[in-house]
Amino acid sequence: MLHEDVVCPFCACLCDDLKVETDNGTIVKVDNACDLGNHKFLTDDDHRLKEPIRRTPSGWTSATLQHAIDRTVEILLGADRPLLYGWSGTHGEAQSIGVHMAEVLGGVIDSTTSVCHGPSILAIQEVGHPGCTLGQVKNRADLVVYWGANPIEAHPRHMSRYTTYTDGFFLDRAFKERKVIVVDIRRTQTAEVADEFILIKKGGDYAVLSALRAIVRGKSDMIPATVAGVTKEQLLRIAEMCKKAKFGAFFFGMGITQTQGKYKNIRNAIELVDELNRHTKFTLTPMRGHYNVYGFNEVCTWMTGYPYAVDFCRGMAFYNPGETSAVDILARKECDACLVVASDPAAHFPKDAVRHLGEIPTVQIDPYPNTTTAFCELQIPVAVTGIDAQGTSYRMDGVPIRVKSILNRGYPTDTDILGEIYRRIKEAKRV
């Protein structure tokens, strides 16, 4: 059976033009996706955990779904300070149940945001965010800047769908008319296709952004001959390109959010874009990673007021990343149980934090075994959103798209499992 306009549940480009052929409950062919998308669809079957598993003194053994849910409920109800972490690889409806659950439990909920674009959010909370949907860039931008981002490897269709290589309404020969600037600390694949590549010394983003801001403000005489390895001549040229553009689009990735300067870098980038808006049109978009990491921020915000790292222990939402974010709570050994949903913290968190995960009862709800599995007491496999579960996902620019279910592999969805756990918790708490 051929499914058209399928949405790819891999990266936050959220390409929705895939053609997927299924036959007898398996995916046999995928068209239009990039390698990452292809891989997700075509190898999905090989990696799935078949049934719930639980750890015993003698190793892993299978568990019934009933037992797995009972035990999860028991762990969560027994905890003083449960942490509900992950969420970027599932649909919004499941995320929403997670937030409700955290509230009833008086626990902490956080998403992978705190280890990717958390700093971007902190910067936005200071100075705002001049953004747009990706179609604005596609149809108008004659200048695209990728800063600390390597879309060719991390968001392979970003350039062909939304920026460099796509047609645009207001551009006659889009590919020729659009200029691309790439800024990074190493010559990435994306740098190879840039019209201008700015090679910055490691940790120099803040200084280079400041220099550009100064030039745009007409203060170029104060710029030294080189800034973090970039020549003044190049900086002047870049600033001129930006000011001359009819529509400039600035994209930034983890090469700038998670390196020296962190949120200060982003604040500086936003203020540069703000400055450029006094000369021409300029927008800025974070290159969000997981296909629905932004969705968690949206859901958590309309429910609690805050995009991530929300602590309900006071009976209302309290937010203070650095204190209420998962890594910190784990490293301080503060939480006494953890529910991991749709992410793999053990693969990304610092050692101390991961060690604590192994010391407390940790349950993982995830379709696949992963690094975190080794630190869990229990894992419940679920349907994969975008393959055998449907729901809402938010693209990196905030456009919400309904991700589809194209076959049935007999797994419950995140919504089913979390809904049942939440129901049981409410029952026990008499709410």
Partner: protein, 566 residues
Amino acid sequence: MSELLIRHACVVDPVNRISGEIMDLAVRDGRIVESVSDRAEVIDAQGFLTMAGGIDSHTHICGTKVNFGRYMSPEDMRAGRTLKKGQMHSTSGYSVPTTYGNSYRYATMGYTAVLEGAMAPLEARHTHEEFMATPLQDTMANVLFDGNWPVMEAVRDRDVKRVAAIVAWVLTAVKGFAIKITNPGGTEAWGWGKNVTCIRDPVPYFEVTPAEIIETLIRANEILRLPHSVHLHCNNLGTPGNYSCTIGSMDVAPDLNKERQSLYVTHVQFHSYGGTSWKDINSKAHVVADAVNRKPHIVIDMGQMMFGKTTTMTADGPMEFNLYKLHHNKWSNHDVELETGSGIIPVYYSRKSIVNSVMWAIGLELALLIKNPEQCLLATDNPNGSPFVKYPEIIALLMSNPYRQAEIATLPPETESRISLPAIDRELDWNEIAMMTRAGQGRALGLRKLGRGHLGLGAIADIAIYPLSIGAIDPSKEYTRVIEALRLTRYTIKNGKVIARDGEILSNRNKTTIWVRPKIPEQHRMDHDPDFIRNFERYYTVRMSNYPVQEAYVPESTCIETEAVW
């Protein structure tokens, strides 16, 4: 079958010409009926003020920019927190509360239906997700058409039928309620960092004027026989001297509908400024009010500004950037491909500022100078003029000249020569307040016949009972009692069920989302139009098949089907 009898209600229901009569109200299965059996649940209203549930015909409570207002403002979230309690979720936010915060606060103020003022069609799914998490009000969404490319192309071709067909397709696809135009043409120009100054400026590239967009959409609206009229946020918001642009925009509107207005002009306070700069800004409310008095086919809402902290958010991207350049606080912007834009900045309206004082006076002047209260509805463009929790104060100001004079006395003395408020002694009565807060909204939104905004037989039993014996107090003198009473209902009843009592929320969920599906001749539908489809697939970044909002997003749905006159 569920039955409810409300005894000793002091009913104010202008639609049915009931003005403060003590009577019983019988409710069966969510509707007002003649009588109920003696098994009915009984509520004693103790002679308190009883009106139909409040309807907010222009507010920002759900969707992309509202949520971004929360996202970027943890300081605002901290400023309004409540604990989880009983059925109530915890809430955050003062000027942009969380969805539950909005819903609970509206419910305890007696509001049972709200119209989200601006939904970008491409992001409609988001608005509906938040509607689902707004459990106690019926929700509707204005759909933005100010910079819609296919619409502007059809306007340029003078093809009003095609405009109607596009609108029909979009409204149906996004499950929207009405046509909204925010700074027509200006949001498209903002895609290039530009703007239009008023209704005669051509939109870059598309070569249509705002006036043409407004007029054609009004005609298309009536071809589709939509319940509501076109809902207009005029060009040039918040600029000294903009009143003439506002009047010019009103002049564009033909009178095409006998049952309601043909044009709804929103937050007119922000559009009634005289003067040439911030230095000499003054009120032109009397001129605008005169125009409205002469045009029964226009309805406006006040867009009242109240002093204090709030967040401004609108689809009017260029206006927000200009405002940002004045305030230097923080600025977010979000342009939406082929459709519209939006911007957000936090603001503080100070009574020490002459400009803000003039703004405050203008909203009140409009309401007091427009003769028919159904032509000037009460709203603050929540949260732009102020958060909706200030409605009780606004009502008290409208009912009490002494209250107004006391407030005027706190403003900079230079204000007085720029406004006419000090000389206006009109005091509105409860009938007029009911018209400005529910009855008028019922009419303006085209929902009166569907039983909204009044308490006649067959009406939907959305009822607000406020702890106030109106016969025993003089609102002119005892305005603080009016404010207290309107802040918190004794009972808020929705579909015949009590959802709030004395500030406590008693229901998990009681709502529907109202949307429209206009039917047009099959051969004109955009789903079969090769041009429309080709351009859609070429220039949008989502596939046309993935664009419509699925049924899953309106689990409680009231679809109004209309038959177009083609």
